[in-house]
Structure formats: structure tokens, C-alpha cells
């Protein structure tokens, strides 16, 4: 059956959103899918977003109270109820599964979440958690459109621009298990935000930008920050958008700001000799989240009281409150997250300790401005210096605050010196739902024609090759990195990787270390690096293939070369082939625990 709708799904770190439009529409007007979900036991309410949390219930809680309209006898819950329980029972609540997907130090298919949970909790894997959110969205869709099942529609799923090939592959795997169509399109989130802007502007967007402009997409979500640069060029008289660079997946976001404010207010309570118990601390976090919006608005009140209501039914009697002044809160958030800094500043590095916790690598420096400076410098031109964006597109709930938007703009303008500073991109900026809406628009535009952001792969990829040579006891063999895919490799293209023959043992798993780089734009397939810095090249999951014993091969090993392909759907495939026998084997990501070197 032909697809009737295009559905854009924003699989967020803290919230998921789905938007849709009829595929045949002349001008796509995207609608948000209402998502029925548990908000309390036995209570199902439709909301516009699905908090990305899974609550693994205790036995006495199951038995019907956690049923969804489409599932009985559930022993887990997804969405708002799970988010609320997360504060009360962190040991039983999975959150930030998406950030775990990109975390190559753990096996993402093993049940490891909630991280550090006690043994009696039936843990789930990061892939399964992501699958649960997508299953929920699929069920919500199918309940609303029984005549147009999701697996027959055109679906665009967004992933962080910083996701490497392995994390994208795992996202696809979760989507496939959740019943999403196999021709699913993966789209980078910041690009989706740009498409949302294009779709809301219609043809006007061409007048809002000009050739040579550089857009900075600054996406500060609940738990993550993503930076992307999109350039405006011209081809055959038409404006073209080109994704120029993507930053790393930074684990700092709006939730950190709420928490920072909560710590500050807890100290104010402490000065009044009010000690908050754990339940009150959770309630305080909630109050701070609500107070942050008005405190960080330009016309916010100079002073505001923040209260923690009494826990029992004696509400008024048990309420404690303190007065906070707006100036201190603004200073706290700005100094912590958007401090003024020079273009040459770098994020403070984590101090290396002997015992590294293996949990999520939260940023040790929460200063988004310093991360931004490093990002603009890294993608700058050796002659012209760091990138100077001309426009900025905000995304993510944190930027509802004028204070934060103004502040980021001010810091950015400070860097541009005498040149004209960055402007906010004119037009509608829908901070919470842009990514899902933009994804739906992209799916529509792919069918009907419309502006497309060019860019290809955001990273270049390398296979680690151990050089042969005399073994030195105690020293690993020198490692070289063979470039197998350049930055900007377009969808639907493939290339042979020129190299010498690499011998693979037949009948055994051949495993290669695998690296990627968002910055090495100069590397071409076949280039061999013998040294690199840790900032340029990051190791990700290894790739492996098993070469079946083949009658055509007499030797114990077979000489092979590499071949890279980016499918039309944006899937990265690495093959090795034997010029002698004509055999071809696909290398698969091995997401098992990586042996630490």
C-alpha cells in the first residue's frame, strides 16, 4: 500500500514528539500527534510530547494500573508517569537512553539501564529503551489512524548530528524492532530545525538569507547541547543550504540549569535553617523549573518567592519558602552556562583520575559559550580565523528565556570584532516542536521537491591497521588509521578505498578498530594517518566480519581491500572485498564492550 502520510519523529533525550502531514498535500501543514500516555496509575492523558523515560514497575504496581490503551498487563510505563517516578525512584527509571546509545564504552545491547540499579530490577538495554519510546509513538499513531499503519507510511526519524555511524545503526535497530518502516530516513536534528524554519517561512526564506551567510544552529535540549553550522551558497542561480560542520554531543542542557538553581535555592533555605529532605528536594527542583521561566524572562519580577509545599495534607502549615532575587539567578545561570569568554577559550578538561566512572560522560565544563568558541575555532579557516556565524537559529526549551538568547547573541557578537555581528534568524522559531515538524517537512520535500540541505556524512571514518614489524614486548604495535570515507560523502554514493592488500584470516572474526573525525576535512579515502590528536579522531565501536572458509581460497588468509557505501537512506556500509576471488563481506559494528587500550 502506498504511504498516505509523512511522519517526523523527534526521538529526544528527554522528550519525544511526532508531527505529520498528508504526503499529497500541496503545502505541508504539519500537525502534532497527540500521544496518549499514563500520567498517573489508571489515568491516560493525551499530551503533545512523550517524556523519554521508562519506569520499571515493582510487582505490586502492575496488574492493570499501568495498562496503555493498546496493551494490557504492562509491568513498565513510558512517558509522563515514568518521568515523575524518575524523581522518586531513580533506581527503577531509565532516562537519557539516547545519550547512552552514543556511548561506545558500554555494550548498548546489554541490559545495563538504569545504570547502577540494584540487582532485583530487571534492567533493559539502551536500544530496548529507545525501542519502547518508538513503540509507544507507533501505537499512538496506529490507534489514531487505523487505516494507515505506521509501517506503511513515510517516516523520518531524527538523530543528533553528532551521532556516528554506529549510534545511527543502533537507532535504526531500535526503530526496526519498534515496527517502524524499513525505508526509514534518518535526519540530523539541527537540519530538521532548519527545515522547520524553511517550511514556516515558505518562499520568504530565500529573502532572509544571502549567499555567504553562515547559520549557527544552537540546540540546547533538556540534557544535551548540539551545535551545527549551515552555509548558504548558490548553484545555478538557486540558493543552496549546505551543512558545514557538526559539534560533539555535549551532555549539558536545560536540566542542568534547573538543578543549579535548585542547589542555589536549597542553600538559601539552609541559611534560614530549613533543611530539605529528599522528597522536598524533588519538589524544589519542580518549583525551580517553573520559577526559572519567569525569573529568566526580560520582564521578570525583581524578586520572587520559591516555595516547597508541605508534604502531608497539611499543605499551608508545612510550606517553606524563600525569596530569591532575579539578578542573582540571572548571574548564577549566566556565569554557569553562558559566561563571557574569549574566542581563544577552551572548555576546562576533566581532571584525569585513576578511577574513571564508566557512566555517561557528562561535561565537566558546563559553559556552553566555551564549547561554542572551541567549535567555531575548530571549524575555522587557517587564514580567516574562526567561523563567524551571520545568523543564529535557536532550538530547545532553554531558549524560551530572552535572557539566555540575548546573552548568547551578545557573546557571539563580542567575538566578531568590527565585523557585523550575528543576528537572530528572522521568522518563526518553534523551540519545542521544530525538530519533529521539520522532519515531517523534509519527508514531504523529498517527495515533492524543495530545498534540501546538502552535506553528506558529518564525519570522516577510519579503520585502524596495525603495522607489521618486530614485536616489542610490552609495547602495542604502532597503529595507523586508513581513511575509508571522507567528510561530506553524499547519500547514494560509494567508493573503493585505495590501499595495499590487507590479509584477513579465513574462518575467524576479523576485527578492526574504527575511528571517526568531525574535523579532518582534508582526508580522502586511502589516506593513511600515522599520528593524530585525541581531539581530531575519536575511537568508536570496532567493526568486524567473519570470512567463511571458501573453496576458492587455499590460503589460510585472503588479501582484501575496503569499499564504502552510503545508501540512499543514509546508512553507512563498509565492505571488504577480495580482488582475487571476487568475494565480498560486509563489516558490522561490534557494540560489545571495547577493550580499553
Amino acid at each position: 500500500m502506498a504511504a498516505k502520510y509523512v511522519i517526523g519523529i523527534d526521538l529526544g533525550t528527554t522528550n519525544c514528539v511526532a508531527a505529520y502531514a498528508p504526503l499529497e498535500a500541496e503545502q505541508p501543514k504539519t500537525e502534532l500527534l497527540p500521544i496518549p500516555q499514563l500520567v498517573a496509575p489508571n489515568t491516560i492523558e493525551a499530551r503533545r510530547s512523550l517524556p523519554s523515560f521508562v519506569y520499571l514497575a515493582e510487582e505490586h504496581e502492575a496488574g492493570g494500573a499501568l495498562d496503555a490503551p493498546w496493551a494490557q498487563d504492562r509491568d513498565y510505563a513510558v512517558g509522563e508517569l515514568a518521568r515523575l517516578r524518575g524523581a522518586e525512584k531513580p533506581d527503577r527509571t531509565v532516562g537519557a537512553a539516547k545519550s547512552w546509545l552514543a556511548h561506545s564504552r558500554v555494550d548498548r545491547r546489554e541490559p545495563i539501564l538504569p545504570w547502577n540499579a540494584p540487582h532485583d530490577v530487571r534492567k533493559i538495554s539502551p536500544v530496548v529503551a529507545s525501542q519502547r519510546y518508538l513503540e509507544h509513538l507507533a501505537a499512538a499513531w496506529n490507534a489514531r489512524f487505523p487505516d494507515a499503519p505506521l509501517e506503511e507510511q513515510r517516516v523520518v526519524l531524527t538523530a543528533p548530528a553528532s551521532f556516528d555511524a554506529a549510534a545511527r545503526e543502533l537507532t535504526r535497530e531500535a526503530a526496526a524492532s519498534a515496527g517502524l518502516p524499513s525505508d526509514l530516513i534518518l535526519l540530523e536534528e539541527p537540519q530538521a530545525a532548519v527545515y522547520a524554519w524553511v517550511s514556516s517561512e515558505g518562499d520568504r526564506w530565500r529573502r532572509r538569507v544571502k549567499v555567504g551567510d553562515t547559520l549557527l544552529v544552537c540546540d540546547v535540549g533538556g540534557g544535551t547541547t548540539d551545535l551545527t553550522l549551515v552555509g548558504v551558497a548558490e548553484q545555478a542561480g538557486e540558493l543552496q543550504l549546505q551543512r558545514l560542520a557538526v559539534g560533539n554531543h555535549l551532555l549539558v542542557g536545560g536540566d542542568n540549569m534547573d538543578l543549579a538553581l535548585a542547589h542555589y535555592v536549597a542553600e538559601l533555605f539552609g541559611k534560614k535553617n530549613v533543611k530539605l529532605d529528599p522528597w522536598q528536594s524533588v519538589a524544589l527542583w519542580h518549583s525551580c523549573r517553573a520559577a526559572k521561566e519567569s525569573l529568566l524572562a526580560n520582564d521578570g519580577p525583581e524578586k520572587q518567592s520559591i516555595s516547597v509545599l508541605g508534604r502531608g495534607s497539611k499543605l499551608i502549615g508545612g510550606t517553606v519558602s524563600v525569596e530569591v532575587d532575579r539578578a542573582s539567578v540571572v548571574k548564577l545561570i549566566i556565569d554557569g552556562f553562558l559566561p563571557s569568554c574569549s574566542m581563544d577559550d577552551s572548555p576546562a578538561r576533566r581532571r584525569a583520575s585513576g578511577f574513571m566512572e564508566i557512566g555517561l560522560p557528562y561535561e565537566s565544563d558546563t559553559a556552553i559559550t566555551r564549547h561554542l568558541a572551541a567549535f567555531l575555532r575548530m571549524h575555522g579557516d587557517p587564514q580567516e580565523g574562526p567561523v563567524a556565524p551571520t545568523q543564529i537559529l535557536f532550538n530547545g526549551g532553554a531558549f524560551k528565556s530572552d535572557v539566555l538568547r540575548d546573552r548568547l547573541l551578545q557573546v557571539l557578537r563580542g567575538w566578531s570584532g568590527k565585523k557585523k555581528g550575528a543576528q537572530v534568524l528572522e521568522g518563526e522559531q518553534d523551540l519545542d516542536y521544530a525538530v519533529a515538524r521539520g522532519a515531517a517537512y523534509y519527508g514531504w520535500a523529498k517527495e515533492h521537491g524543495g530545498v534540501r540541505i546538502r552535506g553528506g556524512t558529518a564525519r570522516s571514518y577510519y579503520v585502524g591497521i596495525e603495522t607489521s614489524g618486530l614485536a616489542v614486548p610490552g609495547a602495542p604495535r604502532p597503529l595507523r588509521a586508513l581513511c575509508v570515507a571522507p567528510i561530506g560523502m553524499e547519500e547514494g554514493s560509494e567508493t573503493d578505498v585505495p590501499s595495499g592488500d590487507i590479509g584477513l584470516v579465513v574462518g575467524e572474526a576479523a576485527q578492526f578498530r574504527f575511528f571517526s573525525s568531525p574535523v579532518r576535512k582534508q582526508d580522502k579515502p586511502g589516506d593513511v594517518l600515522s599520528s593524530w590528536s585525541e581531539e581530531e579522531l575519536t575511537e568508536t565501536d570496532s567493526v568486524e566480519a567473519i570470512l567463511p572458509a571458501d573453496e576458492a581460497i587455499d590460503e589460510p588468509y585472503v588479501p582484501v581491500r575496503f569499499h564504502t557505501k552510503i545508501t540512499e537512506l543514509g546508512v553507512f556500509e563498509l565492505w571488504c572485498f577480495s580482488p582475487q576471488t571476487g568475494g565480498r563481506w560486509k563489516l558490522e559494528f561490534s557494540v560489545r564492550d571495547r577493550d580499553e587500550p
Binding site: 497527540p34 496518549p36 500520567v39 498517573a40 496509575p41 489508571n42 489515568t43 491516560i44 492523558e45 493525551a46 499530551r47 492493570g64 494500573a65 495498562d67 490503551p69 522528597w279 518549583s287 517553573a290 518567592s305 516555595s307 509545599l309 508541605g310 495534607s313 497539611k314 499543605l315 499551608i316 502549615g317 510550606t319 519558602s321
Partner: protein
């Protein structure tokens, strides 16, 4: 403080038979945005539930949400004697804010008239009678001239949650909370 008035009226409707009858008459020809619900009358003999009727009134589901998200019931049920206005105010701010969130999410409440209160209005013949309450000296045929005293409220949507529990849990507005040690 219209929100407070709205709450007061809400509870009067819920718990006071006479008021509920008065309001029912008042809105009989009113806009059908919010259907008058079958209200449970705990003091009266509860009517046996018809098989098609949902196991719980939507009014109770709303009350449960206002308690869960905004602690409204705790606030209203607590005697105010002995608390200063400041103490009541400190708690009321949070309850006020969170009640507003629930009501906006479910009903997207908006003013019916966008005219300033206190401004002159003219009602031509054929005006939507359900949207107006005319007080004062009303006689003869429209047009009527007068002063807008209240801009009115309307629900621009009515999205109430579905409740999936059984009969025994239907009257529980907020469960007993026990912290297991």
C-alpha cells in the same frame, strides 16, 4: 482573581446541590463546550451504574489531576485559621500556578470577548444568546447598548484523560502515601 472565583464555583457545583442546580439552569442554553456531567452524590444513594457509563466521572478525574499536580484539595480542605495572609499566599502561588496549567492543558480557556472590560458594547439582533448574560434594564428589542462587565470564559477544547481503573478505585482522588522504611 477570576481563577479563584472559577475554583470556588467549581467546588460549589461539585458539593452544593443548590448551586449546581442554579448553574445548570444558567448554562442550560449555554455553549456545549463542557458537557454537564453526572455528578456523584456520595450522600445520596448512588444510582446503579449503567453498563455503558464510564466507571468514573470526569469531574473526579479532573479533581484528582488538580490535587496531583497542584495540591488543590489539600489547599482547600485545610482550615485557614491561624495562618497569616503571607503564609496562605506562599502556598497559594504554587497551587494557583499549577491549577492554571491543568486547566489550560485540558480546556485551553480563553476570554470570549476580546473587548476591554468597562468599554461600551452594542448587541445587534441575532447575537449569540448563549455567550451573553444581560443584566440591568433589559427591555424591548435589540440592539442593546451597555457596558462590558466581564469578558466571559470559554473552553476552546475539552480533552479529559481516560480513566482505566475499576469501580473500587474510582472514588480515590489521591491515594494514601506511605514511605516504606
Amino acid at each position: 482573581m477570576r481563577l479563584l472565583l472559577a475554583f470556588r464555583v467549581f467546588f460549589r457545583i461539585l458539593f452544593d446541590r443548590q448551586t449546581s442546580e442554579q448553574v445548570r439552569r444558567l448554562v442550560q442554553e449555554g455553549p456545549p463546550a463542557e458537557k454537564p456531567e453526572e455528578r456523584p452524590q456520595p450522600a445520596q444513594a448512588p444510582a446503579p451504574a449503567a453498563p455503558s457509563r464510564p466507571p468514573r466521572s470526569e469531574a473526579l478525574t479532573l479533581l484528582a489531576a488538580l490535587q496531583r499536580e497542584a495540591r488543590l484539595l489539600d489547599f482547600v480542605m485545610e482550615p485557614l485559621d491561624g495562618f497569616s495572609d503571607a503564609e496562605v499566599g506562599a502556598a497559594a502561588r504554587d497551587v494557583h500556578r499549577d491549577c492554571g496549567k491543568v486547566l489550560q492543558r485540558w480546556f485551553a480557556v480563553e476570554a470570549i470577548s476580546d473587548q476591554e472590560e468597562g468599554s461600551e458594547v452594542e448587541l445587534r439582533s441575532g447575537f449569540d444568546a448563549a455567550c451573553y448574560r444581560l443584566v440591568g434594564n433589559v427591555s424591548g428589542e435589540p440592539p442593546y447598548r451597555g457596558r462590558l462587565m466581564h469578558h466571559g470564559w470559554k473552553a476552546t477544547r475539552c480533552e479529559t484523560p481516560t480513566w482505566t481503573g475499576d469501580e473500587s478505585a474510582a472514588r480515590v482522588i489521591s491515594p494514601i502515601e506511605v514511605e516504606v522504611s
